[in-house]
Symmetry: none
Subunit: 539 residues, 2 copies
């Protein structure tokens, strides 16, 4: 039973981050990016992952070949494509052929439900459009696919010519089971329009044919989330949206808001209940992969979603958190923050320190100094959420248990144009380990690459175990843009030694310095790990 006393319903969640989300301005996913997002979505227990449009984008076929090697636990991969073009046989349509070739268990086929689009954009007859829908969906059904019909512009179409809009749905269900997904493609519909039109389809065509109704909203009127919810309450059971609301123009309905709204407050099941606390980390991860800044004010998952600033609000939350929080932030894996108060997040920080060093308590003398240093670093632009290794090193440094593994004497990097012999940068480095000095040089593609190679080359003389370490990811985020090329940057480096992967962070106005800090942390993480192994052997 849900909160309203009606029987609990499981909704089929359909994520389109990799298709409609990729149509957002500034978004361009590589194949490895897409594979990572597929795995994250599958982990949450999303039912369908719409991952590309092989007909319009040849790069997507490469992705579908690679993704076939991933064993998904919960989700069905879904290819997206159009109904066949007008006046040809469906077998002769090359986009249809590409979609079939993508070899996904489910396909989402969009077709026109708005008569105006049929005559003015497709420039064909209303009857031919019905045939295009009928033929294309029937074709994929005979191929054994699970079929979703994206009734494009359904609500605009229904407003303009209700009879014809309904006929397009009838054409879609011919020849077998079809999810009838009603799309507010232009994103300008109002909740009352969505509720009435959805209810009618649920109670007529869908009921008659025993098929499910879906909803796909865009946010051009700022109401995509509410429109999705009223559609669900009107009987839609298939819900489309994207992580962080990425999508064409103003974006799609934001699943990171819809999921907790429906699951935590209205008793629907959208994702695995035990994965609800993964929502905020997943939103942050998807933003990181898309290389966008997650909107601080995003409901549930944003950095400010549970940030209290007004004095009376902070006072209220301290007395009873529900006084100014609609849900417990822990429910979605987010945290409460007090912006004006010295006690901000203290308990949270302590619990993080204890993860590295369980013996530390809130009264330990180190606690104060670690928290102080952490605040200082965060103020500078550090963020340790994705960089546990740098945080661990920070704690070690404050517990007096840390001895640097090497001392930098100096480095110098030269970058030049035109390139000489193909390389653009050279780095020289001089460092010392236990009083023994080593000076060396390396070249590379760009200053950081040259520095990375020179540092390893020098350190490997003393620590051969660093030969196992490879950098696997390098990210740069410009933190404040006002000072342009002198802006502060945050560099994240991901490394692996084949056994585990770790991430480190550096911040500076100078990208070389920020990279250097993160590189050194990465090497020291590995060296500390090896040292801890040896100490365990001797204990």
């Amino acid at each position: 039973m849900n909160a309203n006393g009606t029987p609990q319903k499981t909704l089929a969640l359909f994520d389109s981050t990799l298709r409609d989300g990729a149509q957002a301005e500034g978004i361009s996913f590589s194949v490895p990016d897409k594979l990572k997002i597929v795995e994250a979505l599958d982990g949450l227990g999303v039912r369908y992952i719409e991952a590309g449009n092989p007909g319009s984008n040849p790069k997507d076929l490469d992705f579908f070949q690679q993704v076939a090697h991933i064993q998904l636990k919960h989700a069905k991969l879904t290819g997206f494509g159009s109904t066949r073009r007008r006046d040809i046989n469906v077998e002769d349509d090359k986009n249809v052929a590409s979609l079939l070739q993508a070899n996904t268990p489910a396909v989402a086929i969009f077709g026109k439900s708005w008569d105006f689009h049929v005559t003015e954009i497709l420039r064909t007859t209303l009857d031919e459009n019905l045939a295009m829908i009928r033929d294309t969906l029937a074709f994929f059904k005979t191929k054994g696919k699970e079929v979703i019909f994206d009734a494009e512009h359904y609500f605009d179409g229904y407003k303009n010519n209700p009879e014809y809009a309904l006929q397009t749905l009838e054409a879609a269900v011919e020849g077998g089971d079809t999810v009838l997904c009603l799309c507010d493609t232009n994103g300008g519909a109002f909740p009352d329009e969505i509720a009435a039109a959805t209810k009618l389809v649920v109670e007529t065509i869908a009921k008659k044919h025993g098929v499910e109704v879906g909803i796909h909203c865009h946010n051009d009127g700022g109401m995509a989330v509410a429109n999705t919810i009223v559609a669900v309450e009107a009987g839609a059971v298939h819900v489309q949206g994207t992580l962080n609301g990425l999508g064409e123009r103003c974006g799609n309905a934001n699943l990171c808001t819809i999921i907790p709204n429906l699951q935590a407050k209205r008793g629907y099941q959208c994702i695995l209940p035990e994965k609800m606390a993964d929502l905020a980390p997943t939103a942050a991860y998807a933003a990181e992969i898309a290389n966008i800044k997650l909107n601080d004010r995003d409901p549930y998952v944003g950095k400010s979603a549970f940030a209290h600033k007004g004095g009376m609000h902070i006072d209220g939350v301290n007395k009873a958190s529900s006084s100014f929080e609609h849900v417990d932030p822990a429910l979605v894996g987010n945290e409460r923050r007090f912006l004006m108060s010295e006690v901000s997040g203290r308990a949270t920080i302590l619990s993080k320190i204890q993860r590295v060093m369980p013996s530390v308590t809130k009264d330990s003398p180190e606690t104060e100094s670690i928290i102080g240093r952490l605040k200082e670093l965060e103020h500078m632009g550090y963020q340790f959420e994705g960089a546990e290794s740098s945080f661990k090193l920070l704690v070690h440094k404050h517990l007096g248990k840390y001895k640097p593994f090497f001392e930098l004497i100096h480095f110098k990097i030269i970058g030049e144009q035109p390139r000489k012999n193909g390389t653009s940068s050279t780095a020289m480095i001089k460092l010392a380990v236990d009083g023994k000095e080593e000076i060396t040089a390396a070249d590379g593609d760009g200053p950081v690459h040259a520095l990375d190679r020179a540092l390893r080359k020098a350190l490997e003389v003393f620590y051969p175990e660093l030969k196992q370490v490879h950098l696997t990811d390098y990210k740069v985020r410009v933190l404040e843009t006002r000072s342009a090329t002198a802006s502060k940057v945050r560099v994240l480096i991901e490394s692996t030694d084949g056994e585990e992967a770790w991430t480190t962070v550096g911040v500076s106005n100078d990208i070389i310095e920020a990279s250097w800090i993160a590189l050194v942390d990465s090497m020291e993480h590995k060296l500390l790990k090896e040292l801890e192994k040896k100490m365990r052997v001797f204990m």
Copy 2:
């Protein structure tokens, strides 16, 4: 009559950007900031401007003294404050006194409508809370103020104890006219709850006393806009919100979305009809003053709100703009943009080329070579969707109309640690213009900053007009992470000369080289523009 055939209603728009908006994370308005926003809001024709809380923020009293010198045409300044504290006379409450001292024609008084807040947060009796509301509102009415009662947590209160929530409204209307503004303070309410509770107040208490009902929503459930709209359709005539949805936690209802939704689509009057096209510029202006980046995906006013990327969308909009736009962007002072990417079609690219060079047709010999080069560059990782200026230069280069403004002989950058005299990088550059050579050097925070400064210094010798150019944004995107520090990066640079802003792009494995390409394009954009100006003078 509005679109639904009911008589047109004028709504009383109540802006709280300067009060609730100021409670957003990272927002801090100075007195001059506040004065500018007051003038912008008055210009739109907003009815009430809630501009501060003199009781909780002494800085606000200074503002109220200064704002008194501004002659407002449309808006009434409104001070915000709490009901009197428990167990004292209203005349003895210093916050009440401060609010009176602010000397605004209207006051918004918030009081508790949720019994839980009365007993657990205020820690007083339900009766005393009613007396606090009654006394405080009556006090301001006797002082001749227009009074708005912000019924804090009305919807949570109504859910928990409907009888008591209604009693708080009854207490507010005693002693004269009061707007009963129902607040979803925690922002978690659903549209059906808002609609039902609002309708009940409209049809009972408000009708009985002949007073108006208002709505104040927060966005914690991502539904503040929709909740506001359903409340209006349930009879609320006073609408509270903020510019760009600024506010505590996830923010308040965004007036930049609500205004066009209600005024353009449902026939309500919110602001002066002739000012609707000022909406997008006002949103941008408010963001500028608040020192935040306006969210690109914000409905109606965001940079991406009418940006089309999918090939079929672009094709559709070219045939009929309403095919993929819910309203005409000009209505709110925004503009349509076609983005270029792998998902956009040939026709878009052609229309872009034609904007730069109207004489080019799809059969021109240059078209093929430009499209070919564009695809090659996109494959390398270039993205021109936000970098119109680099695209324009690309077209020029292919039309044989381009002559480089300077020739690079060489540059050399040195980055080093430890820093020397605080700077970490030095750049030397040698270049030639029409056979005349110039060599110079500069230092900076990081290699790109040093290079940027050296390049300008050398070029300004020949082109003094470059002195007007400033870089305003610098973005770095790592494109493929597999090769870590040798990864390909894309750099976007935004520049301005005070007249216009432009963006350029560079891609390379070397961040210095990628920055160099974008820097050179930025300088050449300005130089080309000046050249075109001169040519127009001579023609």
